[in-house]
Symmetry: D2
Subunit: 345 residues, 4 copies
Amino acid sequence: MTALVLERTHALTLRDIALPDVVGPHDVRIKMHTVGICGSDVHYYTHGAIGPFVVREPMVLGHEGSGTVVEVGPEVTTLKVGDRVCMEPGIPDPHSKATRLGLYNLDPAVRFWATPPVHGCLTPFVVHPAAFTFKLPDTVSFAAGAMVEPLAVGLHAATKARITPGDIAVVTGAGPIGMVTALAALAGGCSTVIMSDVQQPKLDLAASLGPIVPVNVATESLTAVVNEITDGWGADLVFEASGNARAAEGAIAPLCPGGCIVYVGMPGAPIQFDLVAAQAKEARIETVFRYAHAYPRALALLGSGKIDVTPLLTDTYPFERSIEAFDAATLMRPASVKAQITLPQ
Amino acid sequence: MTALVLERTHALTLRDIALPDVVGPHDVRIKMHTVGICGSDVHYYTHGAIGPFVVREPMVLGHEGSGTVVEVGPEVTTLKVGDRVCMEPGIPDPHSKATRLGLYNLDPAVRFWATPPVHGCLTPFVVHPAAFTFKLPDTVSFAAGAMVEPLAVGLHAATKARITPGDIAVVTGAGPIGMVTALAALAGGCSTVIMSDVQQPKLDLAASLGPIVPVNVATESLTAVVNEITDGWGADLVFEASGNARAAEGAIAPLCPGGCIVYVGMPGAPIQFDLVAAQAKEARIETVFRYAHAYPRALALLGSGKIDVTPLLTDTYPFERSIEAFDAATLMRPASVKAQITLPQ
Amino acid sequence: MTALVLERTHALTLRDIALPDVVGPHDVRIKMHTVGICGSDVHYYTHGAIGPFVVREPMVLGHEGSGTVVEVGPEVTTLKVGDRVCMEPGIPDPHSKATRLGLYNLDPAVRFWATPPVHGCLTPFVVHPAAFTFKLPDTVSFAAGAMVEPLAVGLHAATKARITPGDIAVVTGAGPIGMVTALAALAGGCSTVIMSDVQQPKLDLAASLGPIVPVNVATESLTAVVNEITDGWGADLVFEASGNARAAEGAIAPLCPGGCIVYVGMPGAPIQFDLVAAQAKEARIETVFRYAHAYPRALALLGSGKIDVTPLLTDTYPFERSIEAFDAATLMRPASVKAQITLPQ
Amino acid sequence: MTALVLERTHALTLRDIALPDVVGPHDVRIKMHTVGICGSDVHYYTHGAIGPFVVREPMVLGHEGSGTVVEVGPEVTTLKVGDRVCMEPGIPDPHSKATRLGLYNLDPAVRFWATPPVHGCLTPFVVHPAAFTFKLPDTVSFAAGAMVEPLAVGLHAATKARITPGDIAVVTGAGPIGMVTALAALAGGCSTVIMSDVQQPKLDLAASLGPIVPVNVATESLTAVVNEITDGWGADLVFEASGNARAAEGAIAPLCPGGCIVYVGMPGAPIQFDLVAAQAKEARIETVFRYAHAYPRALALLGSGKIDVTPLLTDTYPFERSIEAFDAATLMRPASVKAQITLPQ
């Protein structure tokens, strides 16, 4: 099967590779339609590793996928051939302690697409467990379906925040994850999101998505804007979605007493955390790792129209131009939010 | 001061009456602009009592009000003359145990407009504590401002529900409280609301407000619709907003395992509650009494455009036709949701 | 294999019966040591059914068991031959939606010992999944190990209550479930339990177990006692553990504003529930069905000495006198709390 | 009135000083009996400041007090002359936003004993609001009553942790706050506490207080002990009560997936926080600042015997030897946990 293969750092090829092909009794085979490019895909391409996950063998990239069911295992009852679907890329051990507790994203045995040594989905056909394959509502396109994976990250963050309806939230970072976090926060109960970044085109896009107040922290003080909007009380929630150490360290400043910080972005090194400043506000701090139970909720919100991710889809490439898509992604252009690759149908 | 006075059951007059007039150091005087008619106002008119609250002396009606600040006490720092405002009608004892715990709505000493023996606000000027007077955002009209009171009920219910983003909710009853509960549930994180009533005009209006699926239970089974939408799992949340005993008793049927029922409506007598059916689903049941801390949140959601109550404002009367307004309200016409009275400016 | 078989209503025999005997790869075989008699066992004996669960074929009784591992399947890593264990009697479908969410007790496909048509454990040897078999701490006897099942019910109720440390709780009903609920509430953070019943011997026993205030509601008012202890505020929590309809209906009276009722007992018919009284206090109501994730926690609390169930073990019978044990249990003597049967070793 | 006055850094005198003496309508006058010495008192003595709070004028020390009511204001209904009491040392503005929300400890206007410029209670008589003065149960001594203040810190931490009954907790630091946190965690639902320190005498004392496993981290690995006790899963909760930066940074290592860290101790400078390690476990992090609503709960737990603080009372001095008491406290002897000063009666 042809696939986009990361041979090693900085070496991508579009070539044939042997991939798992047996449709088990609880599996489905999916003809892929759209696959989004995630920052982690790009990072493997440019660095060959993320933390302890090192690419030692050629690995197919891609984990944000949608497609059409073309074959179902004999025990599958929830899906049928022809169903338009998206796929949750991480498959936990159903018998682990974490999974039994409902925390399956924290199961250390989880196998996750395009995380070494597990192949991803940038290939025309994949086999996947039906239990982690979700039908798209009729109103949700393949392109939007391939956005469910990043949206699930934002939605999981919004869920962990335990939003009280009407909360005012800050989201630091207007990249793809910041954008979906802002959309999830608004859909999840926030009245307003105050969003910070230094790239004005991203902030302009954000401001068009709903009641989102953009703050270009190259020229404005985030805390000053928050204080003005909240009469000096502070934001109920701060979602740190940039992974920038300074943003992570500064998350306490715009927070209100009793507020909550959700750390979504992952800085590359320990941060300098002012614990006493957090204690003075009795800040609650939530940290998130991927997501659990989020796909059905993301699809419900997309299907009912409460979330629209299509404005985030700034770049599309056909499968045969996948390498070009990745090379473009490494440039991180200000006007680019999410690039996707479409497979031949 | 002229006011709409309930003299006794079935006897309303528009007449002069002596009302508290001293602006204390922490008070403001408000020139009233709009006052909504609540079902409780109508019930006092037609029955002279609600439970233990009996109208024994002439009482001014009205507790859903908005207006303009015309005088501020010397200690008031949060408001100034000319501010457009709405008022929270219940004033608790700041030193009670309930208030200290943050549960000020449960303080038995609370004084609430138009709840005997406390006068309401259907009169040109009122004096009110600044701490329970809230500035309207520029984008919120006086009419919408007078809707904050019922919206606070729905928002409090949505808050107690602890919505997980993407939840599917049922709201039983499409009267004013059902409508604002549905809007609050959607703004508070639900993906879809399934709304039941027997009055088709109200359901038609509901269906125009957002992702709300109307179910006329005169001809359709609510549980059947819920099961179809949720693949047989059930609704995550059921808000009972009709006060109808049968609806209250039936709330468990459409609920999912581990789901939550919020009882907003108040039936006139004990209900027959199938506890074992609730236990089989481990239902959580929340009950609500008015609201606390909800006004700033309601105003934030109205101000940012996440909630729009204007489609609910079906009837408006000038102050001098107040009695006609109440007589019309007693008819409970299917096409009427919320009637309001506007004061002369 | 010899077993205590319920042939039909009122007909118990101790006889040979064919039982599942294959130890699968993830299973263990357990030599049974102690089996407690539960009210549900007795109810099947006297009535032949509990709600929709009807005994249509001969069925082995017993689901509160402890014993010793005598054989382990090849994939079992957590247990070894000789381990002293107790067993969780309900086995869910690992792939159900409820199980994935962590709510495995609500999985409709759960197979539960001594719930028709599933055989129980009153037999010398059983085969059970290792994942639902838990090692006893050295300090926990077989008799105490066989109490983990009812204790898990109380602990699950205490967990659902979300106790704030120092809470004052009421437990209505001093039967075995009331007793373990009181112990769990105290271990789980309550400062004091106020316990009501009409059988003085049970109340006397309860009062010896810790800071438990007994109230004989045949002669005293529960609400009056609660008000005296709480300066009129009410109890933070009310656990209804009697299954008595009047107790269930009366649970709101001793509750404080913002308090929580947990319904553990299952009345035989719908109750008359005064919803408005619950709303006036904004009562939260939790309902429980068996338990989930409770066994490791119950064992931790028994092992560390925070809970001692041995005072509840009032009656012990050898296996060959099992029928006599059941006949005695039907008498529900005031001084009897928990009867257990010991198997020959 | 004679009082222990901190004149400036390193200068204590026992001398007359003018103190507020008017008993307002809602106040009581208390004859002091016992006052504990807190680490903050000692820190003001040795450093003259804690963070932004600088001693610029002579200030009476002491905020952990108990005594007897000798006069009550005319509006006081909850206390009478002769009542044995303890006092909550922080008085918030009842009209602040934080107070209304129930978060009165976060009110920036709070006036707190022995926090500059507010005088403390190391003096024979004090005047205090009745609303923050709490009657001691008959079973609670004045010495234990003076321990309610530090116990409230531990109890608040245990409350914020949202303990699930049976949780296994780590407490790092076996000073007074670590000790009361361990007692509160056990009383609040934990089955076992694993406690770390480097001072063996303190660990030996801790091990005598209940199911507390001492770990001397000078010679043992805390994480290794935790992993052994929890079969490698990790502790459900970690309470950091030492204020030591390394302990604060290391709190993530012994934590289980989905667990919670509560930061009670306040390090003197920002810590190096490994956010990605926290994210990999989806750690929840709670921070605490003093306490709110904790006094009645602490007294309920002391009164019912669920918590016994008397083993922590290692040193007692008469009032006239107060300066000697403080000088001894600066030595931080391993066998000393809590020193108290008794006033002449």
